[in-house]
């Protein structure tokens, strides 16, 4: 046989990364090999992952809030953060979600909109993985339309009283702290809420068919009394939580690519070894066409993600650009996962291979952090000047 390359080696796109970025990618890949890859299908089956242990391990490395500066964070580039997300999600989307929610949602919200006191209190511990954070924007009745949120914040003397509920909150069942968004008379406001505050209850959402190596919950806020200092002083209006989502979506642009790549690598290996009609199924032209087409999408997705990363590092990244990346890369990743499942045949549905797990995970990734449909509307609004959802 001629010498082969991996799907990511096809165009030698690694050459576009700096030594530092490649080294970070390499370290995360090794960590995933050592701690996640061989275990994650058990976690998935049991619907339970050792999230605190993972958070501590990730904290030691500097993964949590790695793209933020100061307060114990690593201060890495957006591209470095991207390649880390890619390697995390090549292991499992749920594991990448843990890092995204901690770093891009909870920590970013405090880092960007918090008081100095809030940053000092929470960020170093969150960077080490000692405190786990979550982010409460979505509600049972308000998903794509967060402006209609029902959770209310009202003043009582100098205190705030929060009332309402938040749904589909990653990390909530084991989190120490939540960034909660609520509507006050003066508009949407953010609050840093320790989850042991009286009036807060968290319920774990069971029976998920996706992201089973991740913990998801509902947060109920029953007249929760918070001091004025709990409010994020710099967050005024819905723009604040939406900017956090842009951060997290950027990680998904890279992450989903990792899940797709892992499926494709698995399918190629399988096709080389699986014998039908007396030869490896990789010999059949239909299989070869599938493999070639998928490899194209992995390469194009990488170029797209890298472009967004370089724009982010130059401070030029816009929310529409991130929508392009999220829409394309997640949509292609889930197509790749499903196509790879066909190459693996019946073995494709087995937990012994990562493909079905990735496919199921990507169903969530397609929807959370802005559904594909919302991203289509964001992109088309930019192109036509007409907003379809206002």
């Amino acid at each position: 046989m001629n010498s082969t390359v991996s799907p990511s080696g096809l165009l030698q796109l690694d050459a576009l990364l700096s030594d530092e970025e490649r080294q970070i990618q390499d370290v995360v890949r090794k960590l995933m090999d050592a701690t996640v890859r061989s275990e994650v299908h058990h976690w998935y089956e049991q619907g339970r992952a050792p999230i605190r242990e993972l958070a501590n391990e990730f904290g030691r490395l500097g993964l949590l809030g790695m793209h933020l500066h100061g307060y114990g964070c690593a201060g890495a580039s957006a591209v470095a953060y991207g390649v880390a997300c890619m390697e995390l999600e090549a292991a499992d989307s749920g594991v990448r979600s843990l890092v995204s929610v901690q770093g891009s949602l909870a920590m970013y919200a405090i880092w960007r909109f918090g008081s100095e006191e809030q940053k000092q209190r929470w960020l170093p511990g969150m960077a080490r993985g000692e405190f786990i954070g979550c982010f409460g924007l979505t509600e049972p009745d308000h998903g794509s339309d967060p402006a209609s949120m029902s959770t209310r914040a009202r003043k009582d003397g100098s205190d705030w009283i929060l009332h309402g509920s938040k749904m589909w909150i990653t990390n909530a069942p084991l989190a120490d702290v939540a960034v909660i968004w609520a509507r006050a008379d003066e508009g949407v406001r953010g609050f840093v809420v320790p989850l042991d505050t009286p009036g807060v209850t968290v319920r774990e959402i069971k029976q998920k068919m996706s992201l089973r190596a991740s913990s998801t919950g509902e947060i109920v806020l029953d007249d929760v009394r918070l001091p004025q200092e709990a409010q994020l002083p710099e967050a005024t209006g819905l723009k604040a939580p939406l900017s956090c989502l842009t951060e997290a979506r950027y990680g998904i642009v890279w992450g989903s690519l990792g899940a797709g790549r892992d499926c494709l690598e698995t399918a190629i290996r399988y096709a080389q070894e699986r014998i039908q009609f007396g030869k490896p199924i990789a010999s059949f032209q239909l299989t070869q066409a599938k493999i070639a087409d998928m490899a194209l999408e992995v390469q194009k997705g990488f170029l797209l993600a890298l472009h967004l990363g370089r724009m982010a590092d130059q401070g030029k990244l816009t929310p529409e650009m991130v929508s392009v990346g999220k829409l394309n890369n997640v949509r292609e990743a889930i197509k790749i996962a499903r196509e790879c499942r066909t190459i693996l045949g019946a073995n494709g549905i087995s937990g012994e291979y990562p493909v079905m797990r990735h496919a199921n995970n990507l169903e969530s990734v397609l929807t959370y952090e802005g559904t594909s449909e919302i991203h289509q509307l964001v992109i088309a609004a930019k192109l036509t000047g007409i907003q379809a959802f206002s």
Binding site: D19, E20, V27, L61, G62, L63, A74, A76
Partner: protein, 259 residues
């Protein structure tokens, strides 16, 4: 405590490695060059000593220009700085010549403890620690699976095929380690980003007072005259089980010291 770790860049032992037809040296140009695996354990041990006893950890490498990649990787794990001996005249240097150059560099560094891997995955000679100890006139504590430090007293457990020996020496000394000694850390992201700002001193053989005739092809005391590829594996030994198969298997495994 001043600790120096010897780090060698080698071709990745996980990939196919070749010797060059023209001069019987390792083909480094086409290989993926990495830190010698055993040296990562040496770096980890040095960092643990530093964490427990304070002081400074310096990486010492002799190798071509591209060895700087491995030096930066070594620094990303946590050492404070590095010395890189790089000189065109060093091409073709054998183990004796290497020990001469490294000994000169080590004299300048004045280390209390020198730590290195027990062997490199390319040459696998295991001779360098002994040569360095001889040249420097310090103790050689080689093949360690454990190292403890009490003041200026070093104690190792030297791994042997049958068990281990306890060996002690006073500083300064050279310690070579096996991969049983610890579990090397992953470089943290802060470490990776800090590595490029750490000082790396570059020295030529002239800086070290070594004459070009003593090293390289000219100074080599040993040469590789020819090389051939290892023949493909021959068929193994078959044991036909007539009730005693298990015993034959255990006998074989114990004779080969697998159990």
């Amino acid at each position: 405590m001043k600790i120096v770790v010897l780090v060698k860049q080698v071709p990745d032992s996980g990939a196919e490695r070749n010797l060059r037809a023209e001069d019987n040296t390792v083909d480094r140009a086409s290989a993926n060059n990495v830190i010698n695996e055993m040296d990562e354990y040496a770096i980890e041990e040095a960092l643990r000593l530093q964490e427990a006893h304070g002081g400074e950890v310096t990486v010492l490498t002799m190798g071509p220009q591209r060895a700087t990649e491995s030096i930066r990787k070594a620094l990303s794990m946590g050492p404070d700085g590095a010395v890189h001996v790089v000189d065109d005249a060093l091409s073709g240097t054998d183990a004796l010549g290497t020990s001469k150059v490294l000994a000169k560099a080590l004299e300048r560094l004045n280390a209390d403890v020198i730590i290195c891997g027990a062997e490199s995955t390319d040459a696998r000679g295991q001779v360098l620690p002994h040569m360095l100890a001889e040249r420097l006139g310090v103790a050689a504590l080689t093949g360690a699976r454990k190292l403890t430090v009490d003041g200026s007293q070093l104690t190792i457990e030297r791994q042997t095929e049958e068990g281990y020996e306890v060996v002690t020496a006073a500083t300064p000394a050279i310690v070579s380690v096996w991969d049983t000694i610890n579990e090397p850390r992953y470089p943290s992201f802060k470490g990776i980003m800090a590595a490029k700002k750490k000082p790396v001193e570059t020295l030529s053989i002239a800086d070290l007072g070594v004459d070009a005739g003593e090293v390289g092809w000219a100074g080599a005391q040993t040469t590789v005259k020819e090389h051939t590829k290892r023949p493909p594996r021959s068929a193994g030994q078959k044991v036909t089980d007539s009730g005693e198969g298990g015993v034959a298997l255990v006998d074989y495994l114990s004779s080969e010291k697998f159990v």
